[in-house]
Amino acid sequence: MATELGMPAFTNQSQEEEPVGRWGMVIDQDLCTGCQACVAACSMENNVPIVGEDDASYGRYMHWIRIERLWENTEYPEVKMTQFQPMLCQQCHNAPCEPVCPVYASVHSMSEDLNLQVYNRCVGTRYCGNNCPYQVRSFNWLDYQDERIHPELVSLHNHANPDVTVRRRGVMEKCTFCIQRIHKAEDKAKSEGREVEDGEFTTACAQACPANAITFGRLDDPESGINKLAAANRSRAGHALEELRTLPRITYLAGGV
C-alpha cells in the first residue's frame, strides 16, 4: 500500500534528488520594515488567540509569524540593528518536528508538500515544539479564547474566521501557509477545470505586508512570481539555518546593510 501512493518503500527520501516542492515563499528582508502587519493579519486570519500581557511577556505569545529584531552586541548609543527577520514555519521538506510526534499529529502532506498540524489528534507532548530549530510552533497553554480568562476579548469571537478551527488548550499549532486559502483556490480551480494560477490568491501575511516583502506562490512552476524573484536575487537568496538540511520552503533575500 505504501508504494501505491508513489512513496519509496525503504529509502530515505532526503537521499534522493531534493524535490522542488509545491508552495513556497520569498521574504525580502531588505524591504521588511518590521511593522508587524503580517503578524496581525495572520492572527486574524487563523483565529490565533490573544494571550494577554502577562503570558506574552513570559514567552507564551501565540503568533504564528514573528518579526525578530536583533541588534549587535554593542554598547548604547552604538546600537546597531540587524535586518528584521520574519520567522514563520518554514514548511521543511525534512521537518524535524514530524518524526517525533508519537500520535501522527504532525505529518507531511504529499500533495501539497506542506507540514500539517492535525489539531484534533494532538495530545500535547510538545516534542515537535522542542525539535523545531526555528522555534515557530505555538502551544495553547490555556484556553485563551475562553471568556473566563479574557472576558474583555469575547467580542473578538465575532471576528473569527469561519474557515479555520478554533483550538482548545493542550494543542500545538503553527503556520499552515493559510491552507484554508490554498484549498479554497484549488477547489475553485478544480470546479472550473483548470490549474491554480500564480497570484490568484495569497496568504494573509503576504497580503497584508505594505512593503511587499512577503511573496507567496508555487515552487514547481518556473514562471511563478517567487521563482522569478529568487532567480533575480540569487546573490542575496538563502535559507534559514541552511546547515541543518531541513529543506525549508521559504527563501530569504538578505537585506543590504
Binding site: 507564551r60 536583533l70 501522527y104 495530545v123 510538545r126 516534542y127 522555534q135 500545538m172
Partner: protein, 477 residues
C-alpha cells in the same frame, strides 16, 4: 530473643576479622527470622500512622487537587513556555526512572554476579523500582497537554483506524517503560511468593490471611514449584538487565534525538544509564538507612557490611558518571559549534550557574571525598547523607539538561529562562506518593526475602585454613 550484630572496630591494617559478624555467618533458625520479619511488619507506632496520614494528605492535595487544576486550566499553570516546552515534569520522569534502575541493578545484576551481600535488601530495592516507575509514569502524564487522550498513544486496534507513530522516541519510551514496569513488577513478585507463603502460614485469620493466601497462589515449596520458580527468576535476572539498560537509553534518546544544541549528543545513552545507577544506588542507601533505623529487628538483617557494598558501588558508579560527564562536556567545549558552546556557557555562567556547581559538588566531590574510607562506608547515617546529596546532584543534572538547557536554541530572539510554577507542589506530591507507597508496602509484605537469606546462610561456612578462620561459600545452586 533477637541477636543484634555489632560491627567490630578494626584498626587500620589489621587483616584478621571475625567472619561471624557477617549476616551470612550469623544464622538464626528460619522460624526465628520469620518471626522477626512478621513482627516488624505488624508492630507499628502511632508516629508511623501520623507520618502516613501526612503523606496521604500531601498526595491528595498535590496529586489530586493541583493536578486537577492543571488538567482543567491547561499546561499554562506550569512554568513552561516557548522555547521551554519541557520543564520539571520531564525532569521528574527522568529522575524517577533513574531511581528505579537501582532496584534492578541490585536484584538482577548482583544476583547474576552472585554477590552474596545482596541477599537481605533485594526486595527493598526492587520495591523502589516499581514505586519509582509509578511516579515516572505519573510525571509523564502530568506534562501532556491533553492527558485525557493519552490512550491515543497506545498501539491497540481502534475505530479511528489511526495508530501511533513509532518513528517517535516517545513511543519507544512507552514501549520500554511499559516493558520495564511490567517486568520489574513480575520480578518483584516471583521471589515474594515463598515469603507470602510464610506470611500466610503465620497469619491466623481475617482479611490479611485471605490477602496472603490469595497472593501466595497455593505455594508449598515442592520440588517442581521451586524448579519453576527459580527457572523463571533466572530468566528474569538475565533478561531484565538488557531491558534496564535499554530503558534509560531510550529515555535519553528523547533528548538526543532532538536537534536542540546541547541535547543532540551521542553519549547520552550510556551517560543517562550511569546517571540512573548513580542516583539509584544513592537512593538505595537512603532507603536502607531508613529501614534499618525504623523497622524492628532489621539491624540483624541489614548490617554495616551491606552499607559497605552499597558504598563501594556508589563510589564506582560516581567515577563512571564523572567519566561520561567529562565526555559530554569535553566534546562540545573543544570543537562543538557555537550553539553547543553557548549551551555550556549558559549552564556554567548564566543565572543558574549555582545549580551547575552544586551538581558537580554533589555528584563528584561528595562520593569521592566520603566513600573511600571503609569505616565511613559502614556508617549508615553517613551513607544516607551522601545518598541524599548525590540525589540532589543528580536531580540538578537533569534540571540543567532540561529546563535550563532548553533556554538555548538557534533562535536567540526566543531565549527565555524557565521558572517552575505548579510543578513544585506536584513534584513534592510524587515524592510523598513514593514514600506513602513504600510505607504501606512495609505493612503488607515482608521486605526481607527470608528464604534467600536462609539460602545464603546454608551455603556459607567458616573453615579453618592454617591459623585463620576463613569464610567459604559453597555453590549449592
Amino acid at each position: 530473643m533477637t541477636t543484634i550484630a555489632k560491627p567490630i572496630a578494626r584498626p587500620h591494617g589489621e587483616e584478621h576479622e571475625d567472619p561471624r559478624q557477617y549476616l551470612m555467618h550469623d544464622p538464626l533458625p528460619r522460624g526465628q527470622m520469620n518471626a522477626m520479619v512478621m513482627e516488624s511488619m505488624h508492630e507499628t507506632s502511632p508516629i508511623f500512622w501520623l507520618i502516613t496520614a501526612v503523606l496521604a494528605a500531601t498526595v491528595v492535595f498535590s496529586l489530586g487537587y493541583e493536578w486537577y487544576i492543571l488538567i482543567m486550566q491547561g499546561q499554562g499553570m506550569a512554568g513552561v513556555t516557548r522555547p521551554d516546552y519541557w520543564g520539571v515534569f520531564l525532569v521528574n520522569t527522568v529522575f524517577w526512572i533513574g531511581i528505579s534502575h537501582a532496584g534492578t541493578f541490585i536484584s538482577a545484576i548482583l544476583r547474576v554476579l552472585k554477590v552474596e551481600s545482596r541477599r537481605p535488601f533485594t526486595r527493598a530495592a526492587e520495591l523502589m523500582t516499581t514505586f519509582g516507575l509509578v511516579q515516572a509514569g505519573l510525571s509523564i502524564f502530568m506534562h501532556l497537554g491533553r492527558v485525557w487522550l493519552v490512550y491515543w498513544m497506545f498501539p491497540i486496534p481502534n475505530q479511528r483506524t489511526i495508530w501511533p507513530d513509532f518513528h517517535s522516541p516517545l513511543m519507544w519510551d512507552l514501549m520500554a517503560i511499559t516493558t520495564y514496569l511490567l517486568c520489574s513488577t513480575m520480578y518483584l513478585f516471583l521471589p515474594l511468593i515463598p515469603d507470602l507463603a510464610m506470611a500466610r502460614d503465620r497469619t491466623e485469620g481475617g482479611w490479611l490471611k485471605q490477602f496472603y493466601k490469595i497472593l501466595a497462589l497455593g505455594f508449598r515449596g515442592t520440588e517442581g514449584e521451586w524448579k519453576n520458580l527459580t527457572t523463571a527468576m533466572n530468566i528474569f535476572a538475565f533478561a531484565i538487565i538488557p531491558v534496564m539498560f535499554s530503558v534509560h537509553t531510550i529515555v535519553s534518546w528523547d533528548f538526543a534525538m532532538a536537534t536542540r544544541p546541547g541535547w543532540n549528543s551521542t553519549v547520552f545513552g550510556p551517560y543517562f544509564v550511569i546517571g540512573a545507577l548513580h542516583s539509584g544506588m544513592a537512593a538505595v542507601a537512603i532507603v536502607l538507612f531508613l529501614l534499618r533505623s525504623t523497622m524492628k529487628h532489621y539491624k540483624y538483617f541489614i548490617r554495616p557490611e551491606h552499607f559497605n557494598t552499597i558504598g563501594m558501588l556508589m563510589l564506582l558508579v560516581s567515577m563512571a558518571w564523572a567519566y561520561f560527564y567529562f565526555n559530554d562536556y569535553l566534546v562540545p567545549w573543544y570543537g562543538g559549534d557555537v550553539w553547543d558552546k553557548l549551551f555550556q556557557e549558559y549552564a556554567e555562567k548564566g543565572p543558574k550557574a549555582y545549580l551547575w556547581y552544586t551538581m558537580l559538588t554533589c555528584n563528584i566531590a561528595v562520593p569521592w571525598l566520603i566513600l573511600w574510607n571503609r569505616k565511613w562506608r559502614e556508617t549508615p547515617w553517613l551513607l544516607a547523607i551522601a545518598g541524599i546529596l548525590i540525589n540532589v546532584g543528580m536531580y540538578l543534572e537533569r534540571y540543567i539538561i532540561i529546563p535550563v538547557g532548553v533556554t538555548i536554541n538557534r533562535m536567540p530572539f526566543t531565549w527565555r529562562q524557565y521558572e517552575p510554577r505548579i510543578e513544585v507542589p506536584m513534584t513534592v506530591g510524587t515524592f510523598a506518593f513514593f514514600l506513602l507507597l513504600y510505607m504501606l508496602a512495609s505493612r503488607l509484605i515482608p521486605l526481607i526475602p527470608v528464604w534467600e537469606v536462609q539460602e545464603g546462610q546454608e551455603a556459607h561456612l567458616i573453615r579453618k585454613i592454617g591459623k585463620a578462620e576463613i569464610s567459604t561459600l559453597s555453590d549449592m545452586e
